[in-house]
């Protein structure tokens, strides 16, 4: 039997396990997937937990439920990847050899990278919402908060789901309005970027939303340290912003096993060919999802579009054909904007988010870069699509490459 080994059973790894199971002959190929956690978290749902829209239990299911029976699932940490020897050593002392390796080890928060962030204020008046634990802690805190200055701070780019901080602010504006304390809450967004978002056109439209919702914006702020005793964040060049409640988006980093294996860049992301998803260092190693160093968004939609290209390329590699260079950086994100409305953006490496209709040109039902109720319902329905279609590697009616039809320049 020949072997394909997948490291990580998050969104990207799970989709690949399902797709490989669908296309490879089971008498020739053994697919194995390794992960250290039993629980799959629907990460787009974490955003809704602090505002009591989802409960903590609404976003979790057992990982095992999404891995086909013929795929071997091993629950263990990963000690080291040894690509020269085509093998991986697990924390449980197992050694797995492979013909092809797919790295899908994701990214995680590294609050310890910022001086003072894990100090006395952590989980008291400093919270994050990118982990289940963090989102649930914040839910409890917000339930009893009577108001003050809330600062949302992106410490450093790149981050997972770059629209989530904006969505958090829009939902906070709505939530505090619902609670009847919006007049007692000052909302400020502090970002290292020159605007509200990474792409200029969307940044300007989203910036207008911030204005309209009376959310203050502080740009080009590179957080150097957090001072819990004085409740302020301090930039490397000495600027300060005070807070009563700090919502932090800490530095995002790839898994420590990437560093232990000497496979990563300075953030432990794996250098990857941007159109084929092959590792730059090893021919039989591929990288997908948040684990790559690609200049595409770290988001589930991106992992999904990448999987369409990667499944093609793994089959081509097996058949000795040249790889297709078809991944174009495509990302598609609903942006919850509060009060039951949302926006949608669709973009890739070269084309920034533009207005228009999606997925059917001129028809929709979703509107790009415009606030509508349909976009909000699209986002809420997506949880069902995620669990029932996307993770299981089913075809969705959206092609992997971005399409210009329906967009206006």
């Amino acid at each position: 039997m020949k072997k394909i080994l997948i490291l990580g059973a998050g969104t990207a790894g799970t989709i690949m396990a399902n797709k490989l199971h669908q296309v490879l002959p089971h008498d020739e190929w053994q697919v194995t997937i390794v992960d250290q956690n039993e629980t799959h978290i629907y990460q787009p749902g974490l955003l809704f937990i602090p505002f009591n829209i989802y409960t903590c239990n609404d976003v979790i299911k057992p990982k095992r439920d999404f891995i086909p029976q013929e795929v071997e699932l091993i629950m263990s940490g990963i000690d080291v990847i040894e690509p020269e020897k085509n093998r991986v050593k697990l924390a449980n002392n197992q050694v797995l050899s492979y013909d092809y390796l797919i790295i899908a080890t994701g990214s995680h928060l590294a609050p310890d990278e910022t001086e003072g962030l894990l100090g006395d204020g952590w989980n008291k008046n400093i919270f994050e919402f990118y982990t289940l634990e963090g989102a649930c802690n914040l839910q409890k805190f917000l339930k009893h908060w009577s108001g003050g200055k809330m600062v949302l701070n992106i410490v450093e780019m790149p981050i997972k789901c770059p629209v989530a901080p904006l969505e958090f602010l829009f939902l906070a504006d709505w939530w505090f309005t619902e609670q009847g304390i919006r007049d007692k809450v000052d909302l400020t967004f502090v970002t290292p970027l020159p605007g509200a978002f990474t792409k200029p056109k969307a940044a300007s439209i989203l910036g207008d939303f911030l204005d309209k919702k009376n959310i203050h914006l502080v740009t080009e702020f590179n957080t150097g340290s957090v001072d819990s005793s004085a409740n302020k964040i301090v930039s490397f060049d000495g600027k300060e912003v005070e807070y009563d409640l700090l919502i932090t988006i800490p530095t995002n980093m790839g898994d420590a096993v990437i560093e232990r294996s000497g496979l990563g860049d300075e953030l432990n992301f794996v250098p990857t060919h941007k159109h084929t998803l092959q590792s730059k260092a090893y021919e039989n190693v591929y990288v997908i999802g948040d684990a790559t160093d690609l200049p595409s968004s770290k988001a589930g939609s991106v992992a999904h579009f990448q999987a369409d290209v990667l499944i093609e390329n793994i089959q081509r590699a097996i058949d000795g054909l040249p790889l297709v260079e078809e991944f174009d950086g495509h990302a598609n994100c609903f942006i919850e904007s509060g009060f039951g409305k949302g926006l949608l953006i669709d973009f890739n490496y070269d084309v920034e988010p533009l207005p228009g209709k999606f997925p059917l040109p001129g028809i929709g039902p979703f509107s790009l870069l415009q606030e509508t109720k349909a976009n909000h319902w699209g986002k809420m329905m997506f949880r069902w699509i995620y669990w029932n279609l996307l993770l299981r590697g089913s075809e969705l009616p959206i092609q992997a490459q971005m399409n210009m039809a329906g967009k206006t320049k």
């Binding site: 450093e156 780019m157 790149p158 770059p162 970027l193 990474t198 792409k199 080009e220 590179n222 150097g224 490397f236 060049d237 860049d265 300075e266 953030l267 200049p295 595409s296 968004s297 990302a331």
Partner: protein, 105 residues
């Protein structure tokens, strides 16, 4: 693409004032560009940064991030902000004759 004379030679720039051909770069050009950026004298620290990012660019094909200058180049982030105030990654890349560092996503 605008061409202008700096330190006595004609050099290619993009619209944001970043050089488009790193091979045209000289130390004299660096000094002139630094002055335009409000840095009157390039100290030993400045040169350490400039040399690191030029070498790193040759290896990687893109200007390094602040984190990379810190982790790989051993340059303290605080120093970077002292030497190249307001956006050290961009400013240092500009003076070192490299393109604008890639934006994030």
């Amino acid at each position: 693409m605008p061409v202008r004379e700096i330190a006595g030679v004609h050099v290619d720039f993009d619209d944001e004032g970043f050089m488009t051909n790193p091979d045209q770069w000289t130390e004299e050009i660096a000094k002139a560009l630094a002055e335009e950026e409000g840095i009157s004298e390039l100290t030993e620290g400045h040169w350490k940064v400039i040399n690191f990012i030029r070498n790193d660019y040759k290896e990687k094909g893109q200007p390094p991030t602040i984190r990379r200058m810190n982790k790989v180049g051993g340059i303290a982030t605080k120093d970077l902000y002292d030497w190249f105030p307001q956006g050290p990654a961009k400013k240092a890349a500009k003076i070192a004759g490299l393109g604008k560092p890639q934006g994030c996503v």
